[in-house]
């Protein structure tokens, strides 16, 4: 059974690393909820349930050259692209040292130029045309990087999805559109969002391949994104990939999901928790052992503890800083 990753050309270390990133994302997220409930941070928006898709996708890219436009749940992606746990904590605590925004934006609005994580906003789906623009730049500048952009299934109903994918299709651009379909857009379930069966059914309307893969399986996602990235680098244009899974948490720390879905439904979905199923895979293959699992857990806990402490003690930006960076500063600051 455990030959799948080998068929994909992934070593045992690769898949262990994959699991570790998924686990780190999950554990950071869990910590954020604790901090929120303790009144230390005002807001959390979660990746829980989506880690396999995020890490699987990111690992299929070249994190040294590729561009990524994550959406607010993509802790797994930004970790893979080089954002550190401490940086994420600084973000959640809204400290000056937050590399995404210096404490200006709500958590989840990622952006870090040195890691080619493109700055993002709250209105959903605006990042889709941006990704197309970056891919257009790649084509014009004859660079061979690929651009990956993610968004939820609800967000695929925005006009910018349509306009962005069509533009990429017409100009045959090296961009991957990755939908993270977690079955809900806040309280609205899939069948009230889309009339088609799969988000990937839309790809045909933009002349690009579209597939749906099991987002609980990081290897399936890896495979799909790798193929799409290869196609893109070979000048064969864009792809739409839909990954499916279930949102384990309420929409955010401001949401009470009991008004629109049952506890049973959530519990049922958790049976397919990608962390659990991928851990089994790795255990079956004897890649994940009691020993390295314990070490991994210990290390992650330490990293998160330290990051939390550091962030909690870090200062806010000076209030007078709010007047800065509306435009380029005249005296060479940019």
């Amino acid at each position: 059974m455990a030959v799948k990753h080998e068929q994909l050309g992934l070593s045992d270390e690769d898949v262990l690393l994959m699991y570790e990133k998924m686990l780190l994302a999950r554990k950071i997220d869990e910590r954020l909820w604790l901090l929120n409930r303790a009144g230390k941070i005002p807001f959390v928006v979660s990746c829980q349930g989506q880690e396999a898709a995020q890490v699987g996708a990111a690992m299929a890219l070249d994190t040294e050259i590729d561009y990524v436009l994550p959406y607010y749940r993509d802790v797994g992606i930004v970790l893979s692209f080089g954002m550190t746990c401490e940086e994420l904590m600084l973000f959640s605590f809204a400290r000056a040292g937050d590399p995404n925004s210096g404490g200006r934006q709500m958590p989840g609005h990622f952006g870090q130029k040195k890691n080619r994580i493109v700055t993002s906003s709250s209105p959903v789906t605006t990042q889709v045309p941006h990704a197309v623009g970056i891919a257009l730049a790649a084509k014009m500048e004859k660079k061979d990087f690929v651009t990956l952009v993610t968004f939820g299934e609800g967000s695929s109903n925005q006009g910018d999805f349509h306009e962005g994918l069509n533009f990429a299709g017409v100009h045959n651009l090296p961009v991957i559109f990755l939908c993270e379909n977690n079955q809900y857009a806040i309280s609205v379930p899939l069948d009230k969002q889309l009339a088609c069966e799969r988000v990937s059914d839309r790809a045909a309307g933009y002349g690009m391949p579209g597939i749906t893969v099991d987002g609980n399986d990081p290897l399936a996602v890896y495979e799909a994104v790798k193929q799409a990235a290869d196609r893109a680098r070979d000048g064969e244009g864009p792809s739409l990939i839909e990954t499916t899974f279930y949102r384990f948490t309420p929409h955010s720390s401001d949401d009470d999901d009991s008004t629109y879905r049952s506890k049973e439904e959530v519990e049922e979905a958790k049976k397919n928790d990608p962390l659990r199923t991928f851990a089994s895979y790795l255990k079956d293959a004897q890649i994940l052992t009691e020993e390295n699992e314990n070490a991994m857990n210990k290390k992650i806990t330490e990293v998160i503890d330290e990051a939390t402490d550091a962030a909690e003690q870090a200062p806010y930006a000076d209030p007078s800083s709010i007047y800065k960076y509306v435009y380029a500063e005249k005296d060479g600051d940019n």
């Binding site: 404490g103 200006r104 934006q105 209105p123 109903n157 806040i186 009230k192 008004t259």
Partner: protein, 327 residues
């Protein structure tokens, strides 16, 4: 008279209008079983059913555009934009379509849609959940923009908006939702759109404001009253088209005017208010027309000290009024 919160007044108005007129229905994101992210439509799905409290796909241009089509047909849609910041994708539908329906058809068609949206800051909403967006629509003939400050005004003006034969943008301050409470008559009433309201009579300084800031102005006025300054407070209530006569009257009364908005200063609706004053009652003025507003930065940041720096506070208002009084 019952005491309602600002958001309860919204819900009551919606409920009464839906009962009164079968053609009234609600559409928006999460307005159904969840009752809206702020719970403004709480209980309405249960009472009126899925067809009249419609959870839409996540697409604001469609929410506005489908509502506009239904309104042209003769329905009375009340569309909710989840946050005012997210009205931007619907701008084309609102400005090119709703606002111009009557004019372009030479009065053959009209578009009686109400578009509700929570705006404003001070709720840790950061750059994209805190904005004031009225100015971008306050140059659009054919549209009306209502921004009430009290539960009484909310209820009377929302009912009037739903009954209005033309499109109304109804902006609710999200921090006021639970913070602001007030008496609301038990009997049915509506209030006239387009009319400002004197919230406090006074003789020394005129403060003109709307929305949440209006309450800060009133608080400052109360305090200063004790120091012997008499402050006149005008609530615009409708920020487009403006009640020019009321502005002229309020400004002329004291000759000293302070305009307060939470919006970024440059290009806010208070620019127009100042222009009306400079045009109509310049010689009644005893001091320059002062404006207090948000700074000209994109929006308020998330970190609490940064958010605080953006927001106008009571002290600033107090001293601005005092300065004017002593001018």
């Amino acid at each position: 008279m019952a005491v309602l919160s600002y958001i309860q007044a919204v819900t009551e108005a919606l409920k009464e209008e839906m009962k009164r007129d079968d053609k009234v229905f609600i559409l928006g994101e999460d307005v159904g079983p969840k009752g809206g992210v702020f719970r403004a439509t709480d209980g309405l799905y249960e009472e009126f059913g899925e067809e009249r409290v419609l959870d839409t796909p996540l697409a604001e241009s469609a929410i506005a555009g489908v509502g506009i089509g239904a309104a042209m047909y003769g329905m009375r849609p009340v569309a909710e934009m989840q946050f005012a910041d997210f009205i931007m994708p619907a701008v084309n539908q609102i400005i090119s379509e709703a606002a111009k329906t009557r004019y372009r058809s030479n009065n053959d068609w009209n578009c009686p849609i109400t578009i509700r949206a929570p705006y404003g800051g001070g709720v840790h909403g950061a750059l994209y959940h805190s904005q004031s967006i009225e100015a971008m629509f306050a140059n659009v003939p054919g549209l009306k923009i209502v921004m009430p400050s009290t539960p009484y005004d909310v209820k009377g003006l929302l009912k009037a908006s739903i009954r209005d034969e033309d499109p109304v943008l109804f902006l609710e301050h999200k921090k006021a939702y639970r913070l602001v409470k007030g008496e609301v008559p038990d009997e049915e009433y509506t209030l006239p759109i387009g009319k400002a309201d004197v919230k406090k009579e006074g003789n020394d300084v005129t403060v003109i404001s709307y929305g949440l800031c209006l309450h800060l102005a009133l608080q400052a006025a109360e305090k200063l009253e004790k120091e012997g300054f008499s402050v006149h407070v005008l609530d615009l209530r409708t920020v487009y088209p403006l009640d020019k006569e009321a502005i002229e009257e309020a400004a002329s009364k004291t000759g000293k005017v302070l305009l307060i908005t939470e919006d970024n200063k440059e290009g806010s609706v208070m620019g127009e208010v100042a222009a009306i004053i400079a045009e109509r009652c310049l010689f009644d003025l005893d001091a320059p027309v002062q404006r207090l507003a948000g700074p000209d930065v994109p929006a308020m940041p998330y970190a609490p000290p940064l958010e605080k720096e953006f927001m106008i506070d009571l002290d600033t208002i107090e001293s601005a009024i005092r300065d004017l009084a002593e001018f």
